[in-house]
Symmetry: C2
Subunit: 419 residues, 2 copies
């Protein structure tokens, strides 16, 4: 492949589907004063890349794929290096050479939505690796609204433990670890679970003064539907949150794919006892999970984490959830109607929380878990690793095929590997 | 109408629809040791009685209507008068002659669901005034699981202010006031509203240590869809909760019926300034509400309270809610599919909380508001009264017709009026 100083290698999607090509394109440059150019160290291949790949999510333009990356700042727009009151701090503090990670969507950090912390629904939001914005499976990437979007991994405020984390781990901060944590946090913070968590009945459980008293603990039960990389992160995050609250629990982790169940089992085995706390975890196929919930759990699961994003996963979530239970759905859904009636919802008093993880807002919390759980997030290519392999961009076509067929777990691209 | 010592007057529904008859039936008696017999002082006619009346909710058996009542205990089963550890306190303390109110469904207070406070989904739950359990529009009623179900209005622990409340106000504790408060409480306690309420961005807002600090307050915005008696209670409860938290807010109260809007306006006028706090309330038709939200509110409502229980109300709720907003739906829904796709939910990060109010668990909180807001809840038949009229059972047929057509607000029955 011919190369020059002004072009770079990139993985591009060609419409309508299943057409991935490794091509040479121009290196991006600053287009707006808020832009940064980042030299990619590692980029991820994510389950939601497959929505476009399979044509489920229609992408009508050729574009560079990928929305997960860690890299190094090589150019900054004119907004940087200035202290402007009210603007995100990074416009003042970010420097050339800093290592950064970005959430999978761009956010300004300044609009009314960002100020509430709901960064993924920023009014100027764009998804990396979509027709609207070039992605990260390349050697360089342009990051718009970079002072709001990027997280500085070279920040002076970070601890030595945080700075010692390998790039292959830091990569997980862009999407899958925050998204898995979001699924778990969204469920555990729901008011309908506070009675279980505090031991005080509803609505007394919502009174903060009462929560400080010791209550009678019930055994909580959870299902996690979908054990791809995000689902695994959701299970690890959920166990961590439950362990820290010392709550007795049952978690049923569900996937029809035996390879994914095997990976989940290996990761559970690798977690030390402090990673599991005071509970039991079962890894099950769909049918076995239904049987288990019906036989072992009196009224169903306190909460169900739905990580898949389709109609059958949602229907299963409804079937497994208890009355006054919570469905936390972070899967990317299509335009299919919800498979439930108003009466279904009323009769079971179900709560459903849907949508995209505000990853930028979650990164600090996810970073803490990443450091704490290096037994799981810190290795590559082992049975109990979340990351299966790191390959060059030249292997992108084959990697997409394997990942699409469920024959591989998480794959990372090192865009400088075969150069 | 002939009468004897062993029969009573009752309002009965005859299938399939629109057939209400005032008839004489046997006075109920104790059938189980946990039963109580209550002599009805007042019974309510509720919006959800109309679901059966209209045949929307199929009731295949003749039954006494009504699920709201206040009355006096005239007989108790053998379970009462005993102190059995673990049983609800009322089995020991309830006495003949005590004044009581019941939630609209029976609950044991002892099963795993009740112990979490989710009393309306008790595993032994039955709805008063349904084919499964005779209702309250009569002179007497049998209350199963009475020690778990009833709330004692003669309890020594009540304050003088609580004991001074008129029966026509206490009636509201059975369903509509708890249900309206539930709609508001469910929205305000949702984690997605904690960033607005605490002034700290998500997810920091979920950290209790941070919540105690003063943050930057945003103006919250709410829509309430449906201004029948429950909707009015929801607005009054919401304003009370917002006033006590000193939060700037906008509430848009919505109903297509001009008579209902007029009642809402009169009630708002009757609320003193302390009842409204630091905000603005608009009472609007559906089209005017859409215009207002689009023009005045940057991204939509923080939360929408859906009190109607049909597909168009839900669709309107979705259209009005902001990204990362909450839909709190307490309307009784039919078997129509939810009018939304998975993509709708994902794209807006919407949360939906559905279902029946756990009224028994809410009664203490509702009682406090009832005492506090006697300016609204304490009058009958005035422009700003929630209760429009108190009539005898003889007027039931006409009352159902008027209420069905939206020509009357809340109607109560005094079953001894025309005797």
């Amino acid at each position: 492949m011919a190369s020059s100083n002004s072009d770079m290698q990139a993985v591009r999607f060609h419409p309508p589907k299943y057409d991935i090509r490794v091509e040479r394109v121009a290196i991006p440059s600053i287009e707006h004063p808020d832009d940064a150019i980042v030299k990619i160290k590692l980029a991820g291949l994510c389950g939601s890349d497959l929505h476009t790949y399979r044509g489920v999510e229609v992408a009508d333009r050729v574009h560079i794929c990928g929305h997960e990356f860690v890299g190094e700042v090589v150019a900054l727009g004119d907004s940087f290096g200035k202290n402007v009151e009210g603007r995100p701090r990074l416009y003042e503090s970010l420097r050339l050479g800093d290592k950064v990670v970005a959430p999978f969507t761009v956010n300004c950090g300044e609009c009314s939505v960002c100020r509430l912390g709901f960064t993924c629904r920023c009014r100027g939001s764009l998804l990396f690796g979509s027709p609207a914005l070039q992605g990260a499976q390349a050697q360089f990437i342009r990051v718009p609204l970079a002072g709001g979007t990027l997280f500085n991994l070279s920040d002076d405020g970070l601890t030595d433990a945080q700075k010692s984390i390998a790039d292959s781990s830091l990569m997980l901060l862009g999407d899958i670890l925050p998204t898995g944590m979001f699924a778990a946090a969204q469920a555990l913070n729901h008011p309908k679970l506070q009675a279980d968590l505090s031991g005080k009945p509803w609505p007394a459980c919502l009174d903060k003064a009462l929560q400080s008293q010791e209550g009678h603990m019930t055994t909580m039960s959870f299902a996690v539907i979908g054990l791809g990389p995000v689902g695994v992160c959701a299970v690890v995050a959920l166990l961590d949150m439950l362990a820290s609250r010392r709550i007795p629990y049952v978690v049923v982790a569900i996937d029809p794919n035996p390879l994914r169940r095997q990976k989940m089992e290996a990761i559970l085995a690798a977690l030390g006892p402090d990673g599991k706390g005071n509970g039991k975890v079962f890894v099950k196929s769909i049918e076995d999970a239904k049987d288990l919930v019906q036989k072992e759990l009196e009224v169903g699961c306190s909460a169900v984490l739905e990580i898949v994003g389709n109609v059958s996963a949602l229907k299963l979530a409804y079937d497994l959830v208890r009355p006054f239970g919570v469905i936390s759905s972070v899967g990317v859904h299509s335009a299919a109607p919800l498979p439930l009636t108003g009466d279904d919802m009323y009769t079971k008093n179900v709560s459903m929380d849907f949508g995209r993880c505000p990853a930028r807002a979650m990164i600090p919390m996810a970073y803490d878990l990443l450091v704490k759980r290096q037994d799981v997030f810190g290795s590559v290519g082992k049975e109990a690793s979340l990351v299966d392999s790191i390959v060059g961009l030249d292997e992108a076509v084959e990697s997409y095929k394997k990942f699409d067929k469920g024959e591989s777990g998480k794959i990372l691209f090192d865009p400088w590997k075969s150069q």
